[in-house]
Amino acid sequence: MKKELTRQQYLDLYYYMRLNRAVEDMMVKLFRQNKIVGGLYSSLGQEAVSVGTAYALEKKDWLAPMIRNIGALLVKGVRPRDIFMQHMAKYDSPTKGKDGTSHFGDLDDLHIVSPISMLGDLIPVMTGVAMAGRYLGQKTVAMTWIGDGGSSTGVFHEGLNFAAAQKAPFVLILENNLWAYSTPVRKQVPLEHLADRAKAYGIESYIVDGNDAVAVYTVAKEAVERARAGQGPILIEAKTFRRMGHAQHDPAEYVPKEMRAYWEARDPLTLYEKFLASEKLLDAKGRNEIEENINKLLSAEREFAENSPMPPPELAETGVYCTGDDCHKIRAKWERPMAEVTPPRSSVTAVWTVPGFGSGQSSGGANAPIHFGDTQPAAQAAGLEAKSANGGKPTAKTAAKATSKKTVKAAPGSASRKARR
């Protein structure tokens, strides 16, 4: 861990990781008291991934959590009571008891898209969010997570390939916790690094120690800014470990003892506390203060959640359809002149004249075959707000940055070199 952040940023990361763990500890208690209706999925030991990545986003950016990304929700501004009430199926929960766990979102304020249980589906959805943000000139980035297990789905491929072809401002965190329920990653994927898959999409990737909060944040920050600058989607593999079973019911006896011991000795919060102490950013007194604050907050949040009623049965009948403007006023938030995308300015010649297409070269960002504006005269393309800031070419500066010690960059062109052999 290197000292590059502001003191406040270091402390924020700590606060949210602590809060993440405390919220989940409290939910374990609620679960044991039979107050949680369905399953409870733990991110114990993975807090640095959720918190470090989400902390790299701006307020206007979008995220969609997976089941073990409670920390990301907290960073984005979700109140702990909402997380408690979701699990307890309470009426005041964001879904009013219609769904549980992290399955909720907020389109208007927090910019969170709700996940579904089918893995991988968020990838094209968040690609669409990223494309819409670009189209509307909002300069937003979309981020979501996928596990080592979920990365084997077909829609992972469809979504990431489409994002790459579109150069969508999209960051995908591949949270490799080594286990998909009871199946180890080696039995699922014959790759040492899942990040290698990025090469197949011609996109950049990073590998990061998922238990090192500062490293995760640093890499995510760089990825988010590159995506925002128009360099296309970026894949980050965060290597970590799922310390609990798939859910509360699963004792995970299939996990080798040595593996568990290794990762328990690398607890992200313990590591980070040591770092903060050694850098004199946080002493024992400060730590106690944070803990007290969190305890106070959570006991109030828990009380609120417990006092919320169960939803009235008839609620089950409502809300299948949007009934119109009285229900939702759907308006795109334009941050570029609409004239750019309406005739006559939107008119183009409908012919493919794509340089580099079919040359067999891995795109590496530079020759991405499909990007709107490709076939337009340069002068016209330059007028487009949503065109990437530097025309999509990775600059020497960012390329060099990407090869820093903690990060591994997919070598542009390597795929095509192999193909030519």
Binding site: L136, A142, C322, K333, F372
Partner: protein, 339 residues
């Protein structure tokens, strides 16, 4: 017309009184994209090529690369991305090159798109449209009528028009609807029928059936290509003194119960004709509806003329045997009329 897309020099669309089904769909997309820059079109080969059936010909020239998006062969990515766009206030239209391929995105549609509003108050205004249906010897993977997979999914709306007027008006209504709408275009009708389409903006309300022919002896409920088959049979029935009331359902979800019940309570007999296969087709649902709400009004059993419970076969002889036709409808109607 100067250009293939029908666009005049200033983008206005010169309306002919009689246009094909296909032209009506093109006009609807063209006018909706003209009206609202939040409307975009996404699909395989919809841009430079103008769509496999040329329904989007000319749209790229007019609206550009950002709004007419050629995608990889990735139906899940198309639907998923459209869903994400709709969360940001856009109103994407997704084209399935053939509607058969919609099942490649089944999970996205039934689990993501359809459930969002109910579960977390997230409307997903989007249209999924594409050429469907048989009778053109497209074989088992280019002839499907998969509407009932989706009629069984709360949260979706399902439209299956039979005339150019309805195709245009309903597609415009679908684009403006705040819910995900599946819009099936029977490809047999694309270039085979023409109809009146008025100049100027209009919509046809979703969820409303229409009486195509009045009658008193029995009610024939149908939609899409089979609507025309049913009308043909009704002509023949009239020659034998049987006046069939023919109703075009137009929307399958939500179903227009009122129009159906009103007619059946008048004629006391009901025949459902659809090109979809028999088991699990809309006829079964209508039978249940009539049992629940018009049992005492029925003078005969609900009858149905549908395709066989098989995949759509390729050879013309097989496919003709597979599909309903006016002769089969005529025979069933005569049998029903005897009650």
């Amino acid at each position: 017309m100067a250009k293939a897309n029908g666009a005049g020099p200033n983008g206005s669309v010169p309306h002919e009184t009689q246009v094909t089904f296909l032209e009506a769909i093109k006009q609807a997309m063209f006018e909706e994209m003209e009206r609202d820059p939040a409307v975009i079109l996404m699909g395989e080969d919809v841009g430079v090529y103008g769509g496999a059936f040329k329904t989007s010909e000319g749209l790229l020239e007019r609206f550009g690369w950002e709004r007419v998006i050629d995608t990889p062969i990735s139906e899940s990515a198309i639907i998923g991305a459209a869903c994400g766009m709709s969360y940001c206030g856009l109103r994407p239209i997704c084209e399935m090159q053939f509607i058969d391929f919609i099942v490649c995105a089944f999970n996205q549609i039934t689990n993501f798109v359809a459930k969002g509003h109910y579960l977390w108050n997230a409307p997903a205004p989007m249209v999924i449209r594409g050429p469907s249906g048989g009778g053109v010897h497209g074989g088992p993977f280019h002839s499907a009528n998969p509407e009932m997979y989706f009629v069984h999914t709360p949260g979706l709306k399902v439209i299956y028009p039979s005339t150019p007027y309805d195709a245009k008006g309903l597609l415009k209504a679908a684009v403006r609807d705040n819910n995900p709408v599946l819009f099936f275009e029977h490809k047999f009708l694309y270039r085979r029928i023409k109809g009146e389409v008025p100049a100027g903006d209009y919509t046809v309300p979703i969820g409303k059936a229409v009486v195509r022919r009045e009658g008193k002896h029995l009610t024939i409920l149908s939609y899409a290509a089979m609507m025309h088959t049913s009308l043909e049979a009704a002509e023949a029935l009239a020659k034998e003194g049987i006046e069939a009331e023919v109703i075009d359902l137009r929307t399958l979800l939500p179903l227009d119960e009122e129009t159906i019940l009103h007619s059946v309570k008048k004629t006391n007999k009901c025949l459902v004709v659809h090109e979809d296969t028999k088991t699990g087709g809309i006829a079964g649902e209508i039978a249940a509806l009539l049992c629940e709400k018009a049992f005492g009004d029925l003078d005969g059993p609900l009858m149905r003329v549908t395709s066989l419970d098989t995949p759509v076969p390729y050879a013309p002889t097989l496919e003709e045997h597979f599909l309903p036709n006016a002769r089969k409808v005529f025979a069933a109607a005569k049998e029903l009329a005897r009650y």
